[in-house]
């Protein structure tokens, strides 16, 4: 079976800085992969290369055996951050409708099938009951469920979720993860889930892709998130501490994972 994602010797430089240096990874169809790493490790860069909006400097990415551009229709994508609708009353549903076959020519007419498709994805993420309210008045958790619904349009085989937990409280984080897990069960899609903190995902993910120092390590949590393995990746002493089934990645200066959350920004490019 063709792997969902095959990355070989992937190098990406942005503005003269090598963000990713020769990383390799093969992800099988149906896997739930958590993607972690400190700020600037290239998580969003990798995501953009997978969805085809950033060309590799060297190496290759095959999505279900195709180039990212060819695979675009089978990839659901939830970009980081959203908003800018604060001065409008546009409903969540209107935004999803705009994204449904939004790459076609013509006027933005929503056909009957499109309306059904929009209904379907909003139901899957349980966003249907608030989808007619203006997007600007929705809570962070509700907005994320709308964005997740949008990523499900067209039944994609691969879901790429870039920091969907950012700025959500623990309760809404749990709700969203539950939602993604349900989607996976329903569709058997492969899921790439980028996050700062791995703890909320411990129960749902199959493997971990950890990015640091330009490199990447892919494998089971117990193999990848260990002091020796991460120290090698970071290039300096890292300690992995486990407390009551929780994992903490700590550097000499402090808690790596938490310092990221404190000054979280969207710009990795």
């Amino acid at each position: 079976m063709t792997p969902a994602l095959h990355i070989s010797d992937l190098t990406i430089s942005l503005g003269g800085n090598e963000i990713l240096s020769g990383i390799n990874a093969t992800i099988e169809a149906g896997e739930f992969i958590g993607i972690f790493g400190p700020n600037g490790a290239g998580k969003t860069t990798l995501v953009r290369a997978i969805v085809g909006t950033l060309a590799p400097t060297r190496g290759s990415i095959r999505v279900m055996g195709m180039s990212p551009g060819q695979a675009a229709r089978q990839v659901g994508y939830m970009p980081q951050g959203h908003g800018g609708f604060d001065s409008t009353a546009l409903s969540a549903r209107a935004l999803v409708e705009a994204a449904c076959h939004g790459d076609r020519w013509g006027i933005p007419w929503t056909s009957k099938e499109s309306r059904k498709e929009v209904d379907r994805v909003l139901e899957v993420t349980e966003a249907d009951h608030f989808s007619r309210r203006p997007f600007s008045v929705l809570s962070g958790g509700e907005r994320q469920r709308v964005m997740l619904a949008q990523a499900l349009l067209g039944n994609p085989r691969l879901l790429v979720l870039d920091e969907p937990l950012a700025s959500l409280d623990p309760k809404n984080q749990a709700l969203l993860i539950e939602c993604v897990a349900r989607v996976k069960q329903l569709t058997q899609a492969t899921i790439l889930f980028v996050a700062h903190d791995m703890n909320p995902l411990l129960r749902v993910m199959d493997r971990v892709l950890y990015l640091a120092g330009g490199g990447a390590a892919l494998g089971k949590l117990d193999d990848v998130v260990t002091s020796p393995s991460l120290s090698k990746l970071y290039g300096f002493e890292i300690e992995v501490v486990r407390v009551e089934n929780r994992v903490f990645v700590i550097s000499a200066e402090g808690n790596v994972a938490e310092s990221e959350c404190a000054h979280h920004d969207h710009d990795h490019d």
Partner: protein, 269 residues
Amino acid sequence: MNYLSYEFVQNALIAGTLAAILGAIVGYFVIIRNAGFAAHALAHIGFAGAAGATILGLSSLEGMLLLTVGSGLFMGAAGDKVHRNDLAIGMVLSMSLGLGVLFLSLYSGFAGQAKAILFGNIFGVSHGQIVEMVLLSTLSLAALAIFSRRLLFASTQPRLAEARGLSLTGLSMTFMAVLGVSVTLASQIVGVLLVFTLVIAPPGIALRLCRSFWPGIFLSVALGVAAVWIGILLDCASGFPATFWITTLFFILYLLVEAYCRFFVKSGH
């Protein structure tokens, strides 16, 4: 009410209706794209075109059109993606205003016409201008009919649209060219300084009220056309300029809508 039998009133109504329809539709995308500054700048850039046209022997409409569409394309190319284009717009704006000043000083007889361009000359629209306006607005609406679906998608979800293979720069350039045409038409009616009245006010108000695309577009067009007609007829009856009436109508409407949104939409849902 026999003003309607005068040809200059009929011409004013036809030209005003055309400018209002195009402004209302194009303006809808201006609001969604947060491109108000670009619309404002394009109108003022047109002033230089109108001033320069006299020297080159073109009509002021042709001169404006040349410069607004040209700079629209430039702005679209310079500032793709996520609103980093304020600098580019500001630079083009100041350069063309400088040119406008130069043209004014070179051709002193232009002062009277300059006032008409700045504040509009709704009753001075000639039959020939109407033919030009019909042609231009048909062309712009036809262009929108072809690419508005993609434009709406790219305007609401740029990252997603990019991942679906849409060229954000291409869409942005096309849209800015169409915007150039519409601000040129609108400024024939209300003048360069008041283009906001036809391009920003109707869709801005419609987007505060309507939660989905088509109702928003229809309300925007209805508001624009109604205000232009009422303004022109009040001008005939009162002698106060139509532009004053149109802006006043929109301002009152804006205040009412803001109050409505504050008290009902935000608090409840």
